[in-house]
């Protein structure tokens, strides 16, 4: 699926994915989407927690081995 913005945090550990995503989401408009890709063991958990706290919507999650790619829609 196509997302408006892309973030790649492969090889980066906590809390780097969270910080990168937070900065991107702040700059986005309501309803825009962002795809974040990472392979940190707790990457998916962190992103799910971020979305729950900020009331954002997870549109799509794809896993390929250890690499997880998540599309988020800014709704909060």
């Amino acid at each position: 699926m196509h997302a408006d913005k892309e973030i790649n945090v492969l090889g980066k550990a906590c809390p780097m994915p969270l910080i990168a995503l937070a900065k991107e989401v702040r700059a986005m408009q309501q309803g825009q989407t962002v795809r974040i890709t990472g392979n940190d063991p707790i990457f998916e958990e962190s992103i799910v927690e971020f979305c729950r706290e900020g009331c954002h919507e997870i549109v799509e999650t794809t896993r390929e081995g250890k690499t997880v790619s998540i599309v988020i829609k800014k709704t909060g």
């Binding site: 550990a13 809390p15 900065k23 940190d40 971020f50 706290e53």
Partner: protein
Amino acid sequence: METKKVTILLESGDLDKALCAFIFANGYASLGIDVTMWFMLWGYNCLKKRRRLFSFRRAIDPAKESAYRVLETDNMLQPLIEMLNRGGAQHLPLSRLNLMGLGPALFNVMLKKKGIMGLQELIRSADELGVKFKMCQICFDAMGISVDDLIVPNVEVKGVAEYARDTMEAHINLFI
């Protein structure tokens, strides 16, 4: 919805403890939580600009610094403590396994290899995420520090009354 608030007081000048404080600050701030970091005593060290061993303090600007310092009671101890306690985010010791300075060097290599952010990066990103930095006024006065000595802009120099108010309003207060 009411904004959630967190306060973190950093007292320690050790690399490991400063890292913990800034990782939490970044985590909370990323989740949209209002974070205020307080600094006391050795906690400043991670925010200080590194100076050379025998570089004595820059000329004091009384008009600016008397806002938070009592310059009349300054003596030789202020430059002395500045010389002995130079700080700098890249030069902090570890609380364990310091090994006369070898420990922090190996620690930084380990962080880099593992893709974990270093202290300087974390400080910069905390500043970008809107974390507020507040400093203890008596520590500034006693240790002869100026706000120009710090790597973060927009710091506030405040007292214990403000700390008490901040922490009472916050959901969580961490003392590190």
